[in-house]
Amino acid sequence: MIVSDLSNNGYLLLTKPLPDETITSGIYCGDLLSFVLSGAKAGNILVTIIANLNTIAVASLVDLPVIIFAQGVHVSKEMIIKAEQEMIVLMSSSMTSAEIIIDLVQKNLL
């Protein structure tokens, strides 16, 4: 999946578009960052409600190119700046984490 697949399907892009299409592979859903660290695989999209700088740090450490924040949680300007420095795409949705997974499957994006 590429990022424009998401932004064209109702997911709000919070960071600046990257110069090249960011390609993702698979998805990891979770809110406990230690589990994200050990369980997510490089290239996964992270779906979470934990919106702080540590989420960006964890995504950067395990090479997660896209984070989708569920349930419209607030994403700070500092997070957006940090994500852009780390070349991580941030997106937002009003759906719950489970609804996001179902939505992506129904749209054949997973």
């Binding site: 540590n54 989420t55 450490l61």
Partner: protein, 146 residues
């Protein structure tokens, strides 16, 4: 090439938490180590670094690469771990509600470290904790040949 770096870690500094581990990862990537090794080191160093931020009065991280291994030693100035064996149990946590709301406190920090390292020692008393983690060197060519 050998490397020796040290990073100061301030208590409760969530803004900069992870910056030492991020620099360690970037250094290792520039040295052609395998992706699996870099991931294991990233997990262990981040968990140890965040433990200093969350639980300690502050400390530092020493990072060394020598001819045979990668060494990361995390040293803090207290208050120490009451029961190291219990703290190593998956799910055990003394983290505050604030820490949990930030996505930590799952009780998986030390278990993640243990699972990621080739060798681990933890020495702790009320004056501080020393977590020493070592990893055998695995360069990309060896990783790819498996």
């Amino acid at each position: 090439m050998n490397v020796s770096k040290q990073y100061l870690i301030a208590p409760n500094d969530y803004f900069n938490a992870g910056s030492a581990s991020s620099d360690i990862k970037k250094t290792l990537k520039s040295m052609n180590f395998s992706n699996d090794l870099i991931k294991r080191i990233s997990i262990a160093s981040y968990e140890a670094e965040i433990n200093i931020v969350i639980h300690s009065y502050g400390g530092f991280v020493d990072f060394k690469v020598n001819d045979t291994s990668i060494l990361i030693q995390c040293v803090d100035s207290g208050p120490g771990i009451d029961n190291v064996e219990l703290a190593m149990s998956p799910g055990f946590s003394t983290a505050s509600e604030t820490v949990r709301l930030n996505g930590f406190g799952a009780g998986m920090g030390l278990p993640n470290i243990k699972n990621s390292c080739d060798e681990l020692t933890i020495v702790s008393d009320p004056n501080g904790t020393i977590v020493t983690m070592s990893f055998h060197r695995v360069e990309v060519s060896q990783d790819d040949s498996v």
